[in-house]
């Protein structure tokens, strides 16, 4: 029996689901030979409530989503948070800086009373999450790697070293040397430092490494004449939910 895989979207941009389809034909065929995709609303009409592995996309931003996620947890053997919103809260949590009534009023004005919203949170703030496929968006090859590991009954190997390691291997000039702030020293690797390779800095979308060396980041900032406030502002974009941002 092939394992049954389901994708569920909560509050987000659905870019993770889209990139899950960023495969070549061989990969699609291999994947469909290995698993039964039974629930994937963005691309298929059929839906089943019988599944083994559930991928959760998006953050939790409504009371009704809490109930729905708990139901999924009850059904699935393995729950994987998929993408920054589900893993660490992501950009949706930026609204948490404002009182909910104010956020509603800014967007919907006098009609704000129609809408239900709660402070945004990652999936593991609501249920136990077994694994995370991180990033905004996640790297498709990492998704495949995780699916492969789960099929083999192994624990997926998720990096726990900072982006700096991959960035150095890519041969980039350090972003701090170019006079910009960067979250590479504290952010979990696995993206091959794609943002720095593309001429920018690390935005921290994969969340913190397990034991971030915050003191070292502060030292680096001092060395380059940058302030903690500057880096915290950048950090908040994806990591508002993390304790460190508070």
């Amino acid at each position: 029996m092939k394992p049954k895989v389901a994708f569920f979207d909560f509050t987000g941009c659905e870019g993770c689901q889209l990139d899950a389809l960023h495969l070549d034909a061989g990969e699609v065929i291999d994947l469909l030979n290995a698993v039964d995709i039974v629930n994937f609303r963005e691309v298929m009409t059929e839906r089943s409530d019988d599944y083994d592995i559930a991928f959760i996309e998006g953050s939790i931003t409504r009371e009704s989503e809490i109930t729905r996620l708990k139901k999924i947890r009850d059904q699935a053997k393995i729950v994987v948070a998929f993408g920054a919103c589900a893993c660490i809260g992501g950009v949706n949590c930026l609204k948490n800086h404002l009182p909910m009534e104010e956020a509603l009023k800014i967007v919907y004005g006098e009609d704000a009373r129609y809408y239900d919203t709660i402070p945004a949170r990652p999936a593991d703030a609501v249920v136990k999450v077994d694994y995370c496929v991180r990033g905004c968006p996640p790297v498709t090859s990492e998704l495949l790697k995780v699916i492969k590991a789960l099929l083999l009954g192994k624990k997926p190997d998720i990096p726990n070293h900072p982006v700096c390691v991959e960035c150095k291997m890519a041969g980039n000039v350090c972003v701090f040397e170019r006079g910009m702030t960067c979250l590479g020293p504290v952010t979990r690797a696995g993206c091959d430092a794609v943002c720095i390779n593309s001429g920018r800095h690390c935005w921290g979308c994969r969340g913190l490494v397990d034991d971030p060396n915050v003191d070292s980041e502060k030292e680096v900032l001092q060395k380059y004449g940058l302030t903690v406030e500057q880096v915290v502002e950048k950090f908040k974009i994806f990591n508002t939910y993390a304790e460190v941002a508070k």
Binding site: E14, H22, L32, E42, T45, Y115, T117, E233
Partner: protein, 430 residues
């Protein structure tokens, strides 16, 4: 006449969440609603207080499928606020990047999301067995679009290198040359796509409802990232009049806002662009339109998908032309520093699903103080509702499943992007 009771909770194969509700008793329609229950996202609130360099990066997250459209609109609004004029090189690269998204999004919609309806299946997955060549071709086109975006901006979903002022990193000319070759091959694949849609066209419902069609329009080219607001009813209006055109309002049961202009609704997207600007399509795209029996003005919303196929051809042709221009002139590192000033700017682009506005106000430190975003799908919600109002009485005598499928196909034709608009579709026939 039998009673009808349809309740499609979360229409599938669309981006985001929407419901269709229809109930009829003794041939009399009691309820007929397009509902948009997507979780509200609050981007306008979230962008407040952010530095201009972070604003397009955050705005990109409004939508994963059209992240390049949101990023571009956001960059344009910011540059307009600062009075910054990007270089010719930047504009060429931006348009090329933009074409990558248009191509990818249209191919995804036409071949993966809409085509299964015409082929009588629930998703693209069974087609891997029955129509393997088509699926392989669609994946090849998608991969090309991704690779083009990767060469220009690091990746397609949430692009990296494109920023306020210009590009943080330039592509290698050799990469562009290789992509040019693949784009030539893509034109052949797109010919096959046109042939495929010719065979599917008898299944396209014959339904028309004339409405107002709104799209960017530019005397210089078939507009995607330039021009002013064109309307088939009202002519051309400058971007700063966008609020007079869109007239947003809230409705109960929808987290997305609705819009109307000259009539009770208007349409945006590929068919609106085609109706406004078809004369400016590139030659191969024009020929594709002829072959597919699409002529302007078309008032059949089900033809939106066909217009997307035509625009896919245009995007590939235009990309080849741009690469030729770049190869002829070369690329050079530019000083793209912007000078910050307090002010307001409006950025408008044609996202795959239609005209998109970002309107920002910045203070003199380059911190955003106010944002307003008007999303294509929001502008179409009202049109979807009015189409349903016109369509359902015509098909009410048909079996309930057929009515349901036709309405789902209608919604899918609009290719709604509900995450953008808030989240999108449910049909309930109660």
């Amino acid at each position: 006449m039998t009673d009808i009771n349809i309740n499609v909770h979360q229409v599938t194969r669309v981006e985001g969440h929407g419901n269709i509700v229809v109930s009829a008793k003794d041939g009399k329609i009691e309820e007929l609603r397009w509902e948009v229950p997507e979780s509200p996202r609050f981007f306008e609130a979230m962008l407040r207080g952010r530095h201009y360099d972070d604003v397009p990066f955050i705005a990109s997250r409004i939508c994963g499928i059209c992240s390049i459209a949101h990023t571009t609109a956001s960059i344009k609004a910011t540059e307009a606020a600062f009075g910054f004029q990007p270089s010719e090189q930047t504009l060429l690269l931006r348009k090329l990047l933009y074409n990558a998204e248009t191509l990818e999004s249209h191919v995804l919609h036409a071949l993966f999301l809409a085509a299964p309806d015409f082929l009588g299946v629930g998703s693209v997955f069974p087609l891997v067995e029955t129509h393997k060549d088509v699926v392989v071709m669609a994946l090849r086109l998608k991969m090309l679009a991704y690779n083009l975006a990767e060469a220009l901006a690091g990746r397609k979903t949430h692009p990296i290198s494109c920023k306020v002022g210009g590009f943080a990193k330039l592509p290698e000319l050799s990469e562009l040359e290789a992509l040019r070759g693949r784009l030539e091959n893509a034109l052949v694949d797109l010919d096959t796509t046109v042939e495929l849609f010719k065979t599917l066209s008898p299944s396209i419902p014959d339904f028309t409802r004339e409405t107002e069609y709104i799209a960017l329009t530019d005397p210089k080219e078939y507009a995607f990232i330039s021009g002013q607001i064109g309307s088939t009813d009202a002519g051309v209006a400058p971007l700063d009049k966008y609020l007079d055109v869109t007239n947003e309002f809230c409705v109960p049961h929808s987290t997305a806002k609705y819009t109307k202009n000259k009539r009770d609704s208007y349409m945006v997207g590929a068919l609106s662009r085609f109706n406004n600007n078809h004369e400016q399509l590139l030659p191969r795209a024009k020929k594709a339109a002829q072959e597919l029996g699409l002529s302007a003005p078309s008032h059949n919303p089900f033809m939106i998908t066909v217009a997307q196929v035509v625009e896919s051809v245009h995007a590939a042709e235009d990309s080849i032309n741009i690469i030729d221009k770049i190869l002829a002139r070369g690329l050079e590192e530019e000083d793209n520093q912007v000078k910050v000033r307090a002010g307001r700017g409006i950025g408008a682009v044609e996202a795959p699903r239609g005209i998109l506005f970002h309107d920002y106000t910045y203070d003199d430190k380059g911190i955003l103080t106010k944002a307003n975003c008007i999303i294509p799908t929001n502008q179409n919600h009202n049109s979807i509702q009015k189409d349903m109002d016109a369509l359902v009485p015509l098909i009410l005598s048909r079996p309930q499943d057929e009515i349901r499928l036709t309405l789902e196909m209608l919604v899918r034709a609009y290719d709604p992007c509900i995450s953008c608009s808030a989240h999108f579709l449910t049909v309930s026939f109660k």
